[in-house]
């Protein structure tokens, strides 16, 4: 009735008002508003994500070099990369780095989350302190670690020598192969642990207390309670975190670039830093694009796993 009334009023008004009203009605329809609202995001992602991605594929299949015209050369870049010492080392580094970092972050993250889940004094302050490494700009906090690992003035070495754990002068962390990788993994753990801990903590808080109480009444000790209640119920959260962390750790750039620049002798290069060195610093864009596309299989796997196991309820 209201609509009929409005229709009568509309009919009696001048044409411009009718047009505006029709526009309003038209915008009110789901099939119109929905796509309209989504278009800016879609456009942005098409132009600045999908298109560059296709460009990356095109570059990797060409001999593109800065400032010169390029030619299609098929998969030669991908094949040639395997003959390069630097690339083979990078490939190995990526897997070593990612697997060790995530494993340690997982174990420490669960431990820290369990501790934070308890009744604590200064709970807010402690949580705040724990999350700080994740919030601060990584490039800047890595500068602090760079100084801490400095070959002459390292506080890590000083402490180690003072506690009698090392012989003076202590290792040159950033100048020796395995030490440099250790340093880079350590900084990644330092930066990423808060993410694991806080997210797992949320998962822990969602577990109903009654389950624990029932188990305790049945005589289960803390270890069994953890193994048979906590872990299984944490699985979804752990799954998400591991998948996220995999892609972000695998494609890490900031820490390696600031701390070691990929050295010594490529022992800490990851795909991202090698792609930048080859693509921008020496100008071989085709090869650089090919290197960064080695991130794609891992990305595809993570996306597939996420979509399969987790996204059904939300999307």
């Amino acid at each position: 009735m209201a609509i009929a009334g409005a229709g009568v009023i509309v009919a009696a008004r001048p044409p411009r008002f009718r047009l505006r009203l029709r526009l309003r009605e038209w915008l009110n329809r789901e099939e119109v508003l929905g796509p309209l609202f989504v278009t800016p995001a879609l456009l942005l992602l098409l132009v600045l994500v999908a298109y560059p991605f296709c460009m990356a594929v095109y570059f990797s299949l060409s001999d593109a070099f800065i400032g010169r015209p390029s030619q299609f050369i098929g998969i030669r870049n991908f094949v040639n990369l395997w003959e390069s010492d630097a690339f083979r080392q990078t490939f190995q580094n990526a897997f070593v780095f990612t697997s060790i970092a995530i494993a340690v972050k997982l174990v420490l993250g669960i431990t820290l989350a369990l501790l934070l889940n308890q009744q604590l004094w200064f709970k807010r302050w402690i949580r705040g302190a724990v999350l700080l490494p994740w919030v601060i700009p990584t490039a800047l906090s890595t500068l602090g670690w760079w100084w801490m690992f400095n070959s002459l003035y390292s506080v890590v070495n000083w402490t180690g020598i003072a506690l009698d754990l090392m012989d003076p002068p202590g290792p040159n962390w950033l100048g020796q192969k395995y030490y440099a990788m250790t340093a880079v993994i350590l900084v990644n753990i330092w930066r990423g642990l808060p993410f694991f801990a806080i997210t797992i903590l949320a998962g822990l808080m969602a577990i109903p207390k009654e389950l624990y109480e029932a188990a305790e009444a049945d005589g289960a000790g803390p270890v069994r309670r953890f193994w048979y209640i906590t872990l299984p119920l944490l699985k979804p959260v752990l799954g998400i975190i591991i998948l996220f962390s995999t892609i972000f750790t695998f494609s890490e750039f900031n820490i390696v670039y600031v701390l070691t620049h990929g050295g010594p002798i490529n022992s800490t290069h990851l795909f991202a830093t090698l792609a930048r060195q080859v693509g921008l610093e020496t100008g071989r864009i085709g090869e650089g694009a090919a290197i960064s596309l080695y991130l794609f299989p891992v990305l595809a796997f993570v996306v597939w796993a996420q979509l399969k196991s987790v996204r059904r309820e939300v999307l």
Binding site: G67, S151, N172, L174, G175, L280, E281
Partner: protein
Amino acid sequence: MNVISRRRFLTRTGGLVGILATGIPPALGQQRQISYLCWNNFAPASDKKLAEIGQRFTKDTGIRIRIDHIAAPQQAAKYASEVQTQAGHDVVEMRMHFPWLYEPQLVDVSDLVRELEKKYGPALSSAQETAMVKGVWRAVPQYRTFFVATYREDLFKKAGLKVPDTWEELYTVGKELKKMGHPVGIPISQNYDTISTAGPVLWSLGGKEVEKDGKTVAINGPQTVEMVEWYKKMYRDCMEAEVLSWNDASNNESIQQGKAGWVHNPVSAYIVARNRKLDTADGINHHRSLAGPNGQRHETDVPRHIGIWKFSKNVEPAKEWIRYLLGKREVYDEYIMSGDAFNLPAYTNLVDHPVLKTDPKFAALRQEGVQFHCYGWPAPPSDKIQLITNSFILPNMIAKAVTGTSTKEAIAWGANEMRKILIG
């Protein structure tokens, strides 16, 4: 008649007469402008002096100049993007081999260089090898930073050691230094300081990485064997294992905080010690670069030139700027003086510059009888030669040899890697 109508009257009647009558400068409404992209100088004071000179330039010629700065590691990417978009600055600082890399994009400045050479003598060898591409000057040499022997004079005096003059004498002296707890500090790792020492050692023995034709591998000659053997005995008797993991700043820090007794570095090691008032500053001094057995003295040099992009619409004003900065002896001298011996002139007659007298420790920087080259000499610095340098083949080769690989194998590896690059 108010000013506006007078101006309108003049533009209608136009002509030189009108302008002369009112004294309005001819460039009114049409001011010329150029932009100059420069690196962040070692000596911050030099950048300030450059800004000052820029302002005076504008006052004297009416050409406005905007000077932008960029950190050295960012230069390659920045130039690449300017070349790709064919837009950006008019004048750019080109270091080392960059004129070769961007040859098609740079204006021919041979006329400018000839003017400067008439005044200051021929440009130094390192400048010529890097700024002259296939017979044409693509950039104007301005200044350079070279490596020089830096040592703890006080320790030498205390132990009665002779200041070495050849690489072989360095070995003799180095043995004593290591026994004293102040070993020699020459890096053998993937950094440019390593190449900067290995090069002169190899050159002074008459050896080279690649022939002058830029295509034939020459690293597998007998001189390389001599060089590797020298490094092996230096590593064994005069240095410590830490040099295998040094970065570009490590040798500076080692001599600054009192450990190393002898290093090979530009003046930065001494100047920083002096400015930071470190304990070792008084004891550090320099001596002339070392010679080989035949008296040949070669040294690594990092020359910096000024180039003009072809896509610039202000080539003539840009040339005027270069003439102003480098062509006028007083201005050029002022600029060099502000650099605290970090930047030394790139022309033969200016090598013994007054800036060397500002500190007695700079005396050795006169470097009489020394030939200066950039990495990869004598091969012209093409893409492939630069790739050989940037892949650190020479350092890796030496590192392999001093850590157990036989000299023959290590050299064979190096030659093979270079061959792959020259072919690929």
